[in-house]
Amino acid sequence: MDAIMLQEKLVERLLCPRVRTARQKEKQYVGFATLPNQVHRKSVKKGFDFTLMVAGESGMGKSTLVNSLFLTDLYKDRKLLNAEERINQTVEIIKHTVDIEEKGVKLKLTIVDTPGFGDAVNNNECWKPITDYIDQQFEQYFRDESGLNRKNIQDNRVHCCLYFIPPFGHGLRPVDVEFMKALHEKVNIIPLIAKADCLTPNEIKKLKDRIREEIDKFGIKVYQFPECDSDEDEEFKQLDKELKECTPFAVIGSNTVVEARGQRVRGRLYPWGIVEVENQSHCDFVKLRNMLIRSHMHDLKDVTCDVHYENYRAQCIQEMTSKLAQDNRMESPIPILPLSTPDVDTEKLIKMKDEELKRMQEMLNKMQQQMHDKEQ
């Protein structure tokens, strides 16, 4: 009996020190490691928004690709115009908004379409309505940001522009070069080779090389994928490298489901075979989707905010201050916006606060005086 009790006591003593250290550790654990989870939960509640612009001539498969990317049917009721209606058509800007939810995460997706681009005989400056639109969004955000009610700012800035290059050419055409040069400092441009199912693998490679060469030659700044962190594993780095070498992506879209290899997939049925949109050996659709949605959506937004918008803002402020200097007025650190913001209420508030300040100042003076008198 004694032996057993001894044994039990021994065991207790053995266990005790562990319990003590656990309690010690408890004291040192603060708990902010849960911060990412908190951020995650909050953003999931708030939801995300993303604005995507598609540009290119008509018939490049833009609508089909957008539907394939986001598994939507945005263009169901679209009516194609006939020849007479199209004679005097100028470039329009049309927005479609759709709310998508997946696994509890809400995305408010806005697609900005640009029908009429490049369709006329004379396409001089046909990109102007597009650059104007992008600038307008920046301007609106700038005003909102400088205003007083910043809680519910709506971010309509264009985060990414997919530009569709026809596969029929031998590289970039003059209109492609001019468009991209007009927009590369305002928005993230991702050039795509449209309708890639009419090219053989060799032709695709040649075209991609050609386009990359010409982008370099003309100094066009397309969206660059951010560099991998040095601590990422080799597999990730390899994938990233492959992604970068694959640009511009040669894509195919489809609104129809076909039967291929015993499965139902999105694809196009030809007499000589079936093209599967999501088959990586057929086209780069999967790479585009992964890049756009699964890995770089946030980076696209960041670059828009940190680079393109800041450029616009700096330019805007510069213009305004130079204008003010011209008008011989004092330079103010805060840009004076020519329009907007509710004045009457805030002015009243400012007046009230001013008076309060004055009163407090007077009281302080009185108190000081009293103290001074007392001392004497």
Partner: protein, 325 residues
């Protein structure tokens, strides 16, 4: 031709007592044509990259058109449309043909394509003028070299939606001076359904714009022609695919394009309408194209020229023309 007695009657005419041999004249003509050979001038129009040169090479199964590899690094896209005519002599079954392919690089490639059809129109009229000048000469060549454009193949971009403005502008302006054959280029971009829909829309637009493509309805000579041509008009514009590479399919070597999901066979009527275009253009209507160009388009030009400024040379005019025709 030897006289030999025979009891055959020629239907619908006076019964001949013997065989004269008038029908051998066809054989004589044939022999002569084979010896002299003949000219054919084909023009291809469409913006770059639509496979014009490849199609011409495929049509005539030889490298008669140099494929452009696009614009070289320091070469610039021509600011105006250029006209490049290259001739080759090809032979088949003892018949020699001098084929001239007229290419139009730069068409539709600029940002501002206003009036880009003018150099083309000018070239076509210049060829008519050349022929006219030869015809009205005092001493004329036995066989006037024919550089007139017999056929202009216009390449429609396979957008799947509609004709582009440039397409209708070009065809409207040129369908009265040259035979225009519209084709839908790079048809392997579209599935069969998409092709049919696109064709319907394109045909409707052509009708609405009043564009008369070859074979023009007004030049059908008789009922047989009309029914043949109606069938062809129903099927136009042909959706074609061109290729100069051969692949093995089902034990045969065929011209095609190899993709990751299958081989597009150029001459397979289930894949595209190249075979139909080739048969129509070369095997049945080649001579007709030349005749329509000579008898109708050229005559229209000539009449216009003779009516303005009261004619050409004082010597020229009707005498020599009538005896020739």
């Amino acid at each position: 031709p030897l006289l030999c007695l025979s009891s055959h009657n020629s239907s619908g005419g006076s019964t001949l007592l013997g065989y004269i041999g008038i029908d051998t004249i066809i054989e004589q003509m044939r022999k002569k044509t084979m010896k002299t050979g003949f000219d054919f001038n084909i023009m291809v129009v469409g913006h770059s990259g639509l496979g014009k040169s490849t199609l011409v090479n495929t049509l005539f199964k030889s490298h008669v058109s140099r494929k452009s590899a696009g614009w070289a690094r320091d070469e610039k896209i021509p600011k105006t449309v250029e006209i490049k005519a290259v001739s080759h002599v090809i032979e088949e079954g003892g018949v020699k043909m001098k084929l001239t392919v007229v290419d139009t690089p730069g068409f539709g490639d600029q940002i501002n394509n206003d009036n880009c059809w003018e150099p083309i129109s000018k070239y076509i009229n210049e060829q008519y003028e050349k022929f006219l000048k030869e015809e009205v000469n005092i001493t004329r060549k036995k066989r006037i070299p024919d550089t007139r454009v017999h056929c202009c193949i216009y390449f429609i971009s396979p957008t799947g939606h509609f004709l582009r403005q440039l397409d209708t502008e070009f065809m409207k302006r040129l369908s009265h001076s040259v035979n225009i054959i519209p084709v839908i280029a790079k048809a392997d971009t579209m599935t069969l359904e998409e092709r049919q829909e696109f064709k319907q829309r394109v045909r409707k637009e052509l009708e609405v714009s009043g564009i008369e493509f070859y074979p023009q309805k007004e030049f059908d000579e008789d009922m047989e022609d009309k029914s043949d041509n109606d069938k062809i008009r129903e099927a136009m514009p042909f959706a074609v695919v061109g290729s100069d590479k051969e692949y093995q399919v089902n034990g045969k070597r065929v011209l095609g394009r190899k993709t990751a999901w299958g081989i597009v066979e150029v001459e397979n009527p289930n894949h595209c309408e190249f075979a139909q275009l080739r048969d129509f253009l070369i095997r049945s209507h080649l001579q007709d194209l030349k005749e329509v160009t000579h008898n109708i388009h050229y005559e229209t030009y000539r009449a216009k020229r003779l009516n303005e400024n009261g004619g050409l040379h004082p010597i020229s005019s009707s005498d020599t023309q009538e005896s020739n025709l």
